[in-house]
């Protein structure tokens, strides 16, 4: 499963999609990916930073939505305090 997590005041909002089903073109899975991508872009437009997480690998900043990512965390816009 792929997962998009958006850090928010409610903890984190999660959006998932089936990566295997996406590869075989399952319409439901493709719709889930499109929705996750829409949220990704919406958050980016608000200044959020997207970070891709994978087991055993350091966190990596990404600029484009990656449907093959295991987990993407959207960190809301930050400012100097």
């Amino acid at each position: 499963m792929g997962m998009l997590r958006v850090l928010s005041r409610s903890g984190d909002d999660q959006f998932t999609w089936n990566r295997v089903a996406v590869e075989v073109g399952d319409p439901e899975a493709l719709a889930a990916v499109r929705e996750a991508e829409r949220i990704f872009e919406e958050q980016r437009a608000h200044g959020a930073t997207a970070v891709r997480l994978a087991p055993g690998r350091p966190a990596e900043r990404i600029e484009r939505f990656d449907p093959e990512a295991e987990q993407i965390v959207m960190v809301p816009r930050v400012v100097g305090g």
């Binding site: 850090l7 903890g11 809301p76 930050v78 100097g80």
Partner: protein
């Protein structure tokens, strides 16, 4: 009725005293950094946002890092680009300390534009430092180290 009245008063005083002691203890940093996170990871914890954030933080950190965080009330992240530098992220309010060669060299202040649960703020600092340290440093306000540290 007359007989139990003094005992009721004594019981009430004892309960108030015990509650006050529990609250005092819970405010002690070394206790609060262990107790509150543990409570937040329980499924019955009433604040869903805190529960979700603490669970996410726990699943993202290695067991050793999470144990250190609960023991020390801060999380240390090694700089991905500068050898010998670590960032000390506090649990709860406070600035991120930059530690080099065992000494605090400066303090950083950076905050999200929207309110986040405490555990999410720790995760936010960790992810931003690891994924894009240069932008993190560029965005944060830098303060000189405190004279007493």
């Amino acid at each position: 009725m007359k007989d139990i009245f003094p005992y009721s008063i004594m019981l009430l005083i004892a309960l108030v005293f015990a509650a006050r002691m529990v609250l005092l203890l819970a405010d002690w940093p070394s206790v609060s950094s262990r107790v509150w996170p543990w409570l937040r990871t329980r499924s019955w914890w009433p604040v869903a946002a805190d529960h979700a954030a603490e669970t996410l933080l726990r699943s993202t950190l290695s067991p050793e890092d999470y144990r250190r965080l609960t023991a020390n009330a801060y999380l240390e992240i090694a700089s991905p680009t500068r050898a010998g530098r670590t960032y000390r992220i506090p649990r709860g309010p406070g600035q991120v300390l930059v530690v080099e060669g065992g000494r605090v060299t400066e303090r950083l202040c950076l905050q999200p534009t929207e309110s986040l649960p405490e555990a999410d703020v720790i995760l936010m600092h960790k992810l931003l430092i690891e994924a894009d340290e240069a932008t993190y440093l560029e965005t944060a306000n830098h303060f000189p180290r405190s004279v007493w540290r």
